[in-house]
């Protein structure tokens, strides 16, 4: 019988996390998933879920966040990968089965998966 989770556990989690939060902010990767109606209808939620699963499996600490429609509806699901000092890379039509390769090559090996890229934004 698994132990029933209680919100109070967040108090302990906070203490654990506060110890390493400063390093994460500077070195971290952020993955941004488009979650407007267009994204949702194209399967963005399942793509997000696949990203969360892959990060957990590989024990990679990356922030994941969602945004509304950015106007490239035909390319949804859209996934941006933002890393400190690197241009922000936008991948288009990202289905859940593409997620492991995207994370393997971009996050682990540091190589952008060029064939899936639909846009780039220089870091400011």
């Amino acid at each position: 019988m698994p132990q029933i989770k209680s919100l109070d556990e967040l108090r302990n989690l906070r203490q654990q996390v506060e110890r390493d939060i400063s390093t994460r902010r500077h070195t971290g990767t952020t993955i941004i998933v488009g979650m407007g109606t267009c994204g949702i209808a194209a399967g963005a939620r399942d793509t997000m879920h696949a990203i969360l699963e892959e990060l957990r499996k590989r024990e990679i600490d990356a922030n994941v966040t969602t945004v509304g429609c950015i106007g490239m509806c035909a390319k949804e699901p859209l996934v941006d990968v933002e890393q400190a000092g690197q241009p922000r890379v936008t991948y288009g039509n990202v289905t859940p089965d593409m997620v492991p390769r995207m994370i393997e090559e971009h996050l682990v090996k540091g190589q952008v998966v060029e064939e899936w890229v639909v846009g780039r934004l220089q870091s400011s």
């Binding site: 698994p2 029933i4 989770k5 919100l7 109070d8 556990e9 967040l10 108090r11 989690l13 906070r14 654990q16 996390v17 506060e18 939060i21 941004i32 998933v33 979650m35 407007g36 109606t37 267009c38 949702i40 209808a41 963005a44 939620r45 399942d46 997000m48 879920h49 969360l52 990060l55 957990r56 600490d61 990356a62 922030n63 994941v64 966040t65 969602t66 945004v67 509304g68 429609c69 950015i70 106007g71 509806c73």
Partner: protein, 185 residues
Amino acid sequence: MRELSLHVLDLLENSLAAGASQIRLGIEEDTRANLLVITVADNGRGMDRETQALAVGPFYTTRTTRHVGLGLPLLKAAAERCEGGLELHSEVGVGTTVRVSFQRDHIDRAPMGDLVSTLMGALLSSRRGWDLVFTHRFDQHEFGLDTSEARELLGDVPLTHPAVREWLESYLRQGYEELYEQGAG
């Protein structure tokens, strides 16, 4: 959309886009009354009468990046196919409430689908400074989450922090398993 939970995510995104700082999501499944009701109430900027009438039609959107908005009309059609309907109440400067009902066992009623992923999609929103009060009632059983409580316990640590995110997801999954176990028992 294939799952009602995808519509729920869409409604939550609408509330966020309307600048809401408080969003209440209620899901009620009543097997005796054979009713499924989803309510999303926000304190966003609201809509005037004219806009409300337009919002349930397909050619209205506030975004500037495209000219069609299909979220509400798709949901309205899904509800009406199941002997239910969609009600929209809104007041400028006060907020918007969307209540959508379905005959629960209707053959055309889409499955609820993965509500946990829907909640995670909303909780991971890049928009800051808002809270979600979520309750799901299944007959007499209830499960829910109030993010303001979670936030208070977490202090400066955001809900989007990887460790917090993983904890929240397993908390929600466990809560749902129990809700449906109780409901079936």
